[in-house]
Point group: C2
Chain length 339, copies 2
């Protein structure tokens, strides 16, 4: 893990992806801003607040990057890639708005969540608006196969979120169930983002599948790292949001692993903390120590490493190119965040 | 008004529409049930609870009825009409789930709202799931023009709901703004339902527009009657949910009309009640008396009557048929509910 983390290629990957997709992403960004417009003042206000809150826009960049790997560079191809990228970002933003309501989150990207300013009601409805606009942008491409992929993704994401909700504080949650949750709620959109990008670029069916596989594995790695970071990651240091998953009773891999290896007394500690909104810092620290003792974060990140390896293997099915190498570095970059 | 209400044709209209669309609606209903399935138990449980809670399924029936008015009766046409009808109902159900969360409603169709049983979180997410499934069903028809209409509708509905939210307890709300709210949040889906039905049936562009116009006017009438019923309608009698709009601070036409004609003392009474969640029955009764004094419910229902007339005028652009007459009766039936 540490070897990869120190690789210069991984460290500079995001910067290089930003540079490589810059001119197309400018088109995506203006499309995003124009489609968040409305005669109803609250819609662009809330949408812009979220859109401009400093997300990396990794998903739309992946769409643009995937499209750029193939021969088609005509106007139609660029229009489709731009529309898919903006649609993917809107789907992501709609999910964030609804998630913050569902999780009762107060903060998002270091700022108050939109619901803290405009309320839960507006967050639900503006999320619906963005979802509608996402579909509208897809329809404008007139690409029915891509529409099928993206609307299937919307369904699977929501289904995954309900599955996660139904497993709240459920001690019997298995690693397989956890994997189904993260595949559905996170990896599905990464998969759709890369796949429809490849389609816009004119890739063959096999190439689209390969990029879709890359997206799936990248998405899984991304969520695994996120879930490790919720307990401080490898640095094991306490941040503002450390333990949020614990408070929400989210059965993520670190907790599942720890439970499997715990004595009854240790289990009782986890049980007392799961879903406890008023959790004290001391208890979070105790759980973090337990996770360290049980090697739970390391094992979670090893799983993420496996996903990263799978992602890079999938890329090998594609013709060699600079962008292919960059996407491999992006997979490594994903793990960097764990430190 | 009273004359029309007593017309036998209007009284039997819904029953006759149910009969006329029965065999196709059976297909729609099984499609609805099959698309509410999921490996996540909570999804079909919550969805079936809402789906089977005794809604009239007026919107999907309008889609089927509209399709049946035209020549195409082939397999493709029937498949499309069925898919559009189910998609329209899912869009409606998703809106209901989200609305109940937004309005903090405890009851829906005389039963506890889904959110009271499964929580706000599940209601938001299952709503998203149904919306995703709705789009998926539309995509399966491969009809891009219909997809455009339905995804535009999804956007406008959400936008209308945000507009309504932003006008909560806003005394300066105009009749025009109210009309924009009800056109967006209610009439848009009625319009889409009839229009895509006509498209599935193979109607000409003009015929699709005429049925869309019928849908718009029917939807406006429907919402106006709903808003009058919230204050007891013509019977002016108090029911379980009477005054809910008042408690939620919804600026509906009866209140807008009353405000325009009120003295400062009367205005003060309305202001004290708007958005007051703990409103006492006595205050609701006082407001109902004020609405009667100001003729506000009658004027609201006159506006609904105008919409019904417009709806029937739009139908005249279509070839004469039994279904055309039945749809005209359905418009009259809409007003019957006000008594």
């Amino acid at each position: 893990m540490t070897q990869i983390s120190n690789s210069t290629n991984a460290q500079t990957a995001l910067k290089r992806l930003l540079k490589a997709t810059k001119s197309d992403m400018e088109k995506v960004n203006s499309l995003i801003l124009s489609r968040a417009e409305s005669h109803v003042e609250m819609v662009p206000k809330l949408a812009h607040y979220l859109i401009e809150s400093g997300g990396k826009r990794l998903r739309p960049m992946l769409t643009i990057a995937s499209a750029s790997m193939f021969a088609n560079n005509d106007e139609k191809s660029l229009k489709n890639a731009t529309h898919f990228a903006a649609a993917v970002e809107f789907m992501h933003n709609a999910t964030l708005l609804h998630d913050d309501v569902v999780d009762e989150s107060n903060m998002r990207r270091g700022k108050p969540a939109a619901r803290m300013i405009w309320g839960n009601q507006a967050s639900v409805l503006v999320g619906d608006f963005l979802l509608g606009q996402a579909f509208l942008m897809m329809v404008e491409t007139r690409d029915l196969d891509a529409l099928n992929i993206l609307s299937t993704a919307a369904t699977i994401i929501a289904e995954g979120e309900v599955f996660q909700l139904s497993k709240t504080s459920d001690l019997a949650t298995t690693k397989e169930e956890y994997d189904l949750v993260i595949k559905s709620k996170t990896a599905t959109l990464f998969e759709a983002a890369t796949k429809v990008g490849a389609m816009a670029g004119g890739a063959t069916k096999q190439q689209c599948e390969a990029l879709g596989e890359y997206g799936t594995e990248l998405g899984r790695a991304f969520q695994l790292v996120d879930d490790a970071l919720d307990y401080g990651g490898l640095s094991k240091s306490m941040g503002k949001n450390t333990g949020d998953d614990l408070r929400e009773g989210k059965m993520t891999l670190p907790i599942i692993i720890a439970l499997q290896k715990s004595s009854d007394t240790e289990k009782a500690l986890i049980i007392s903390a799961l879903g406890n909104q008023d959790l004290e810092v001391e208890t979070v620290e105790k759980i973090m120590a337990l996770l360290a003792k049980k090697d739970a974060l390391n094992e979670t990140l090893e799983e993420a490493q496996t996903c990263v390896n799978n992602a890079k293997t999938a890329l090998k099915k594609l013709p060699k190119s600079e962008m292919r190498d960059l996407l491999a570095d992006i997979a490594d970059f994903c793990l960097l965040r764990a430190n």
